[in-house]
Structures are given as C-alpha cells and as structure tokens.
C-alpha cells in the first residue's frame, strides 16, 4: 500500500525529474531560431554560388560570425532536445533509449564544437 498521493508526484518536479525545464528550453530556443533561421536561409541563398574568398570574407565579418555561432549553438541544442523526445517516445528498452539519448547529446556537443571552431578559424584568420 502506497500512502503517497498522486499530487506528490506532480508537485515540483514530476516524473521527468526536471519539471518543465526541457519544455521551456525548447520554446526559448524556438523563439531565438525564428529570426536566426530566416537570416541564415536567405543569406545562404545569396551566397550559394559564391567563390571561396567571398564566402570567407562574409563569414569573417564580426556580426555574421556572431550570428552563425548563435545559430549553431541554438539550433543543435534545440535539435538535441527534440530528438530526445522522439527517442523517449519510440525506443522501448529503457537501457537502449538512455544510450541513444546520451549518444545524441554527445554528438550535438561535438557538432557545436566543430561548427564554432570553424567559424572562429575563419573569423580570426588562421587560414587563408
């Protein structure tokens, strides 16, 4: 006989153990991504066929470099949150599910690091 009432599970953190943090971060990153994605797609359209020097100079512009880094970090953080929900919904053995979620999170961090390092290399002029 369990004496805990259902409200005990709901008050505070709930079964997910982190309350609404996941849900909230997904929304906050979504709002940030609206202007970032619109800026990025239309910029990419303009630079789609550009030669190396033009693209390098464009990314090296401080404002562009900052916005690209913001896009990389925000988009991959958002993607990783979304993939986690998909995996939690469809991957059944709990151990496998946990392994997939952790793998996705590790991969997202690696991609963020590669992306940010690439932009910094271009912006700080390590290569010509």
């Amino acid at each position: 006989m369990a004496y805990r009432t259902p409200v005990k599970r709901a008050v505070g953190l709930g079964s997910a153990k982190d309350g609404v943090h996941h849900w909230w971060m997904q929304r906050v990153t979504a709002i940030a991504l609206v202007p970032l994605v619109l800026w990025f797609t239309f910029s990419m359209a303009v630079y789609a066929g550009a030669d190396f020097e033009t693209v390098r100079a464009w990314i090296a512009t401080p404002m562009v470099a900052v916005l690209l880094i913001a896009l990389i970090v925000t988009a991959l953080f958002h993607a990783q949150l979304g993939l986690q929900v998909v995996l939690e919904d469809y991957v059944q053995p709990h151990g496998l599910q946990l392994a997939c979620v952790i793998a996705v999170k590790f991969l997202a961090v690696l991609l963020i690091l590669v992306g940010v390092l690439s932009v910094l290399r271009i912006a700080l002029g390590g290569q010509t």
Binding site: V34, G49, I59, G115, R121
Partner: protein, 130 residues
Amino acid sequence: MQTDNRPLSPHLQVYRPQLTSVLSICHRAAGVLLAGGSLLLIYWLAAVASGPEAYATAQAVLGSLPARLLLFGWTLALFYHLGNGIRHLFWDAGKGFELRTAYASGYAVIASAVVLTLLVWILATTVGGA
C-alpha cells in the same frame, strides 16, 4: 494512481488522417530531418575553414543534382517546421485552438512554407548564381 485505463491515442490504421494530425506528425518528421541536415551545415562551415580546395569539393558535392534535391527538401522541411513551430507557440499561449482557427493556421503554415522555399531557391539560382 490508476494509469492502465486511460484513453489511448488514435490508432493509426483505423483513424482517418486529418490535416491537423498529418501536420502534427510532419512537424516531428521535419524536425528529425533538420537535425540530420545540421550535419551538412557543420560540414560546409568546416570546409570553408579548411581552405579553398575543401570549399571547392564541398560546393561540387552540394551542387550536384541529388544534393540539390535533398537541399530543396531540407529547405521545405525547415520553413514548414519554422511556421508550424510558431503555430505551436501560439497554442502554448492558449490561443488558436478553435477548430476553424486550427485548420486556417494549418493551411497558412503550408502556404508560407511553399512560398518561402520557392523564394529562397529563386534567390539562390538568380542572385546567388548557384
């Protein structure tokens, strides 16, 4: 707490697809596609950072016909997920749940995704010269 007798989600094989349910699952599918597509963005940036030869290779790979088709689909998925994401944000604020509004916003999201995708690709093939 009894949890075994709750109403289940609509059973896919017997439930007639509606605009609202189809758009809902498309939002998730597009999101997964976009997560995969982020690999392309990171690859392209790494290529630019590596120098002219790597960039030339990336441009050749991404400019090939299969890659263009993939990128076109990716653009559509991106603008769909963007528009439908905004639709979701309104729902989160408790607005737009009336049946008429939900359908109207659904059609608006499809239309905006198609228009924005075509706009980007017209821009890319004319001004961008891709």
